[in-house]
Symmetry: C2
């Protein structure tokens, strides 16, 4: 086990009706002027918009709005938000939605007190050390951004999708009402589950030894998603099913489950090139990339893959027969994705194979990717080819 | 799943050598004058005392000392600590040791800014809303006090052992170096493991439905303790074994694993009467009480006990045969305790049976205990009798 620091001070309010407390929590954090960041019309249709704005008015908190945040969020709205905050003396960001709204708010949060271009943080030219406080009202369990220390944005020019992280980006509070997720369409539910599972697998596939406790917590979390994601599609309005997925989605990405270990994260970077160019859902891209990544890298740590096969998928092929056990586990993972209606090949996702080399180049531009196995351009290209 | 609020802002520094950072962390928390709270000579023998005091001197932080805290910590040293803090303008408490040192520091922390008797908090006459900041340097993984919101003390007069809890009691930081636990004697190691397992079982045995994700996290944590506690006795100086237990001990009691559920806590209260009068180790007392509690209450929720049997102990007796599955699980639990050299009966712990009625009365003085099954005086008495 590696040395580690774990510190996640986000306050979580979870359950029915908790969104009513948003304005009170903002006030408790010292916020006085609020920017409400959200996406399309879904928070208006669900009534969440009215609940939040009523709560802000009742608490006497003036607010401004930044609507229209897109999936795979872009840099331009972040710059617009920074301008709005500076012009209006806004001191608190309230994001309502999924990872896109929250990541946008986090970008604005670090951008406001910074004198340069906010993209510098994403290009890792500077490390964010100051930020406006952010609160999140989560409606899509997926990205884990509601308590994570990171944000991922795409710069329109060149379609570069990059992430940045800093402890100052951790939201002060996350408001999580599973009822708000009961109206999520099946495909978004599936993509969210895939994203959560990927966060767990990225952490699981490590080369660090002696991490049995966090292994077991990760396995427990993965099995929760494997059990409950198909149930959420079958019973979309079942509160208890949505609650299991929503809480697991947060724990999957709040850094608790990578304490003492080094996650891989290669698949995320490989996927980011797909969703940057083709604008597919991140969770769908991960369902395409992860099985291919596994096929390519498992020989660099077969025991870990056999453990994954046995404990997560119940594969009980004799311990000596590692290749077949791993093959069986990857097949089960692909079955899981397909059962949710997700693609497991580029072709199924409608992605042609004429830009694989370009994506492999862009992906490895900052250097080799992944920690379980260091992936150079040729490796990433091979993984895209395995995913064709 | 119940609605919940989860908020644990304790910063954890975990790994080799992290105790060197104690003074820097105090400074970062705004501490300027420190009370070092500890027990006997073990932190002097291990060199921890020198490391901490050197670090305080290097950081230029004046400090005072409150040594001599006993296991099953008493109220008198807390009052002495409050006096020391007030007389010397101390604004930070650094506890070095196990739950006793940390619980004592927490008692002092809430006592200093309070105008009445600090025991009021433990008798739940008032709720603690202000406290001096506390930091913990953990040397015994057991109580989970290093990031918990609670403290348990015994008032000498009448030997009443009571706990109190408040978010203001959560330590600002916990410094956890598994190396410091490698010299723990076997019996203390065993008692610590028993305490950790009890924290997990108290949370596991709930009547709240639809808590599958936290069930699985709890099962993962219990299996970690069941696997690693015997290994720690066999290989006391193995860092990796100690690290698994130490990290699991914190997660077992930082309130994450009871999110959305209501734990039982009857066994803890029943045990407190034992350790208050007979001054036995809390973990040993829990090994006596828990099997008896299980035998007494399982019929109030047999499915949960069968799940415990199957998932924690691998008992695969046919699902219809609940009574035998539960019996097998309790037998395995008793085997586990005995394998660690712990008693599973009052007689083995050297506790006579002439005060069982008195203890049952004291235990239920504030009202019935436990949530899985409400236990009145007669129930608690029956559980003591089952443990004879």
């Amino acid at each position: 086990m590696n040395n580690f620091v774990y510190h996640n001070p986000a306050k979580i309010l979870f359950g029915k009706g908790v969104e009513k407390d948003a304005a009170r929590e903002i006030r408790a954090c010292g916020g006085t002027r609020v920017l409400l960041v959200y996406g399309g019309g879904s928070i208006k249709r669900s009534g969440l918009y009215d609940t939040l704005t009523d709560s802000l008015k009742a608490e006497g908190l003036p607010f401004w709005e930044l609507p229209g945040v897109q999936p795979n969020p872009r840099l331009t709205p972040v710059k617009e938000g920074i301008r709005l905050c500076r012009e209006n003396g806004i001191d608190f960001l309230l994001a309502a939605g999924g990872g896109s709204a929250i990541d946008t708010a986090k970008g604005i949060a670090v951008g406001v007190p910074y004198n340069g271009d906010v993209w510098d943080f994403y290009e890792r030219k500077v490390k964010a050390e100051k930020a406006l406080p952010v609160g999140a009202v989560l409606t899509i369990p997926a990205a884990g951004s509601e308590t994570s220390d990171s944000s991922v944005l795409t710069k329109e020019e060149g379609l570069r999708k990059l992430g940045c992280g800093s402890p100052v980006m951790i939201p002060r509070f996350a408001i999580m009402n599973p009822e708000l997720t009961c109206t999520l369409p099946a495909y978004q539910t599936a993509c969210g589950a895939s994203d959560i599972l990927a966060h767990l697998m990225e952490r699981y596939f490590t080369q660090v030894d002696h991490v049995d406790f966090t292994d077991r917590l990760l396995e427990a979390s993965m099995r929760t998603i494997l059990d409950y994601a198909p149930l959420a599609l079958a019973h979309p309005e079942d509160y208890d099913i949505r609650a299991e997925i929503m809480w697991a989605g947060t724990i999957a990405h709040n850094n608790l489950l990578d304490t003492g270990r080094v996650g891989d994260w290669g698949s995320h970077r490989i996927e980011h090139e797909l969703s940057a160019i083709y604008d597919i859902a991140h969770g769908a891209g991960l369902a395409v990339v992860f099985p291919a990544w596994m096929k390519y890298v498992w020989r660099d740590g077969p025991d870990r893959f056999v453990q994954f096969a046995a404990r997560v998928f119940g594969v009980e092929i004799a311990h000596g027969n590692k290749e077949r056990a791993v093959e069986a586990a990857i097949a089960r993972l692909e079955q899981f994705y397909r059962s949710l209606g997700l693609p497991t090949r580029l072709s199924e996702a409608g992605i042609p194979d004429d830009r694989l080399r370009e994506m492999a180049q862009k992906c490895t531009l900052p250097g080799p990717q992944g920690n379980f196995k260091k992936l150079y351009e040729e490796d990433v290209y091979n993984i895209y080819c395995l995913a064709k």
